[in-house]
């Protein structure tokens, strides 16, 4: 990242408070961060450190209590519901821990659901090829392994060619070997398509493949480190 990359996300003093009856849970207590075009960021932190909350707000799935988030100069914290829908539809790809595939549709059709409503999608076959599932396109989720399902979910997320890919514990439900295959797919997307990627994990070892690692702790950013030497996903092990 030597040239000046576009600053996709700017997060400033972001706070989020959940009200659980009488109790107030401070999930985020003033977070400041950036996400640049084309970079791969790993958000690292223990459970309850606010990683998912941060990602959900950045992805337009949740609203902040205070502070602001802007995406390419547009303030998401002020956006209307309609604007957020458009933002989610056209700009962000999401990958969840538990895949969220439609069980009655094949891998290809699961991707088609997105490509049919996206303005400039890639072919579902192309997306599946990018995650290495060319030969499993006509299989139903129940016929695929966990890793394969997660890769279908990634293919679905990237098929609309999003500028940003947000992954919430994509390897959380997978063993290390399968997890690495999934991470390889994410790495390939990031490299070949230049999609800015944020990966949430509590697995320290995954941090090795990131450009930058953002450590979250107790609703705050504890530390941001930059990897001088970026490992490839296949070199990871845990």
């Amino acid at each position: 990242m030597n040239q000046q990359p576009e600053n996709f996300f700017q997060v400033r003093e972001l706070t989020k408070v959940y009200h659980m009856g009488e109790v107030e849970v401070h999930a985020l207590r003033g977070v400041n961060m950036e996400l640049y075009a084309g970079e791969l960021v790993v958000l690292l932190g223990p459970s309850g450190s606010g990683k998912s909350t941060l990602l959900n707000i950045m992805g337009g799935l949740d609203t902040a209590t205070g502070g602001f988030v802007s995406y390419r100069g547009k303030e998401l914290t002020q956006a209307t519901e309609k604007e957020l829908t458009e933002y989610r539809r056209f700009h962000v790809g999401f990958v969840f821990q538990f895949y969220n595939l439609i069980s009655s549709l094949t891998a290809r059709e699961n991707v088609s659901v997105v490509t049919e409503i996206a303005p400039d999608p890639m072919a579902p076959e192309k997306a599946l090829e990018l995650v290495g599932l060319s030969d499993r396109m006509n299989h139903f989720p129940a016929q695929l392994s966990g890793g394969e399902q997660q890769r279908v979910a990634i293919a679905r997320a990237i098929s609309k060619k999003p500028a940003v890919l947000l992954c919430d514990e994509p390897t959380g439900a997978l063993d290390s070997k399968t997890g690495i295959v999934v991470l390889e797919a994410l790495e390939r997307i990031n490299r070949e398509l230049g999609t800015a990627t944020a990966i949430i994990t509590h697995n320290v070892d995954i941090a090795g493949m990131a450009d930058r690692v953002i450590h979250l702790s107790n609703g705050r950013i504890a530390e941001v480190t930059t990897n001088q030497v970026k490992k490839s996903a296949s070199e990871l092990q845990w």
């Binding site: 439609i102 009655s104 549709l105 088609s112 659901v113 049919e116 409503i117």
Partner: protein, 342 residues
């Protein structure tokens, strides 16, 4: 555009085809039942209207004590009146072999020149009574079925205090008596209450009504307000012990002895509905109550009328037969009482 989602939908429907089939079946049977009821209702409605029309069901009914036959012309001259038929009606106790309980027969006269003009009879089997025979009778079908009567069967009736053997010459249907119901009964009692028709000559003689009548039915010209006819008719018959005329909408009410007051009250409501309707509700009909000769309001014979012809309470009857020539005062009193208790 949503091709894939459509595919998802079809696939999921296919996966639960059993349920979908069951749901479809339930919906279909619901719709079918609904259509069945609707069409049944329409056809019943149509049939009733057709029956009323073809058998010339009366528009206005009135029951009175006794009036000379010459009054008929005066009634005929009432504005809007089309056809007039004077009749003699009476209630009689029947003595049916093999049936020990008290049975009431509602006797209506048939003009000596043949089938009645108004409230014509449909002869199911047999023939109408011979005007020159006083022991011939036709009965309504439900009564015949209840007792298993066939043509030529005989039963006895106590007509004006005289025991008389009657022979069934015909079984008929009448628009006036579609569903005969006894006073106070929740369901029709076909065994203990029946409609009978005899020749005018025979019944007049038996009840001393020769040259007179105690019941009038009439039809009006389309568009004539029934309330006007009813009012004029009451004026004409007032001094002959008229019990208050009523339109076909009230026929089943007026039938119940003692409901005259109610009828009069309902009449006021109906007065607003000034258009003449050809098809009255299915089972509404009755006539003002009449007290029997005994004066006991409960023994009042019912009017000749369709749908509900209500009846005498045989157990309390002090007399075995009674002409429809009740006491005006008695009838009115009862009427008021029942109406109030309602």
């Amino acid at each position: 555009m949503v091709k894939t989602l459509n595919r998802k939908l079809l696939r999921e429907i296919w996966l639960m085809k059993g349920q979908v089939f069951a749901i479809t079946l339930v919906v279909m049977s619901g719709v079918a039942t609904f259509i069945m009821f609707i069409s049944t209702m329409h056809s019943l409605d149509f049939t009733r209207s057709k029956f009323y029309r073809e058998y010339n069901f009366a528009d206005v009914f009135v029951n009175l004590k006794r009036a000379p036959e010459s009054l008929r012309d005066k009634i005929k001259n009432i504005n809007g009146v089309n056809q007039v038929e004077t009749r003699v009606c009476a209630n009689a106790k029947l003595d049916i072999k093999g049936f020990k309980e008290s049975v009431t027969g509602r006797i209506t006269s048939i003009p000596d020149d043949g089938n009645p003009l108004i409230n014509r009879l449909y002869v199911r089997s047999g023939r109408l009574p011979d005007p020159f025979k006083d022991n011939e009778v036709v009965i309504n079908e439900t009564f015949a079925q209840a007792h298993g009567f066939k043509l030529g069967d005989q039963f006895a009736a106590v007509i004006n205090g005289k025991w008389k053997k009657l022979t069934i010459t015909g079984i008929v249907l009448s628009p006036e008596f579609i569903l005969l119901m006894k006073t106070g009964a929740m369901t029709p009692d076909f065994k203990r209450y029946g409609a009978l028709w005899m020749s005018r000559k025979a019944i007049s003689k038996a009840y001393d009504m020769e040259g007179a009548f105690n019941d009038v039915v009439l039809t009006v010209y389309p568009g004539t307000p029934l309330s006007d006819v009813v009012r004029d008719l009451d004026d004409v018959l007032g001094r002959y012990g008229g019990f208050g005329a009523y339109g076909l909408g009230l026929q089943s009410f007026a039938q119940v002895p003692g409901l005259g007051g109610l009828v009069r009250r309902r009449k006021a409501v109906h007065e607003q509905d000034r258009t003449f309707r050809h098809a009255p509700p299915f089972s509404t009909a009755s006539s003002p109550a009449q007290a029997g000769p005994g004066g006991d309001p409960q023994t009042a014979p019912t009017r000749c009328s369709s749908a509900h012809s209500s009846a005498v309470w045989p157990s309390t009857s002090t007399s075995t037969s009674s002409v429809c020539s009740p006491r005006r005062g008695g009838g009115r009193r009862t009427a008021a009482g029942v109406a109030e208790s309602l």
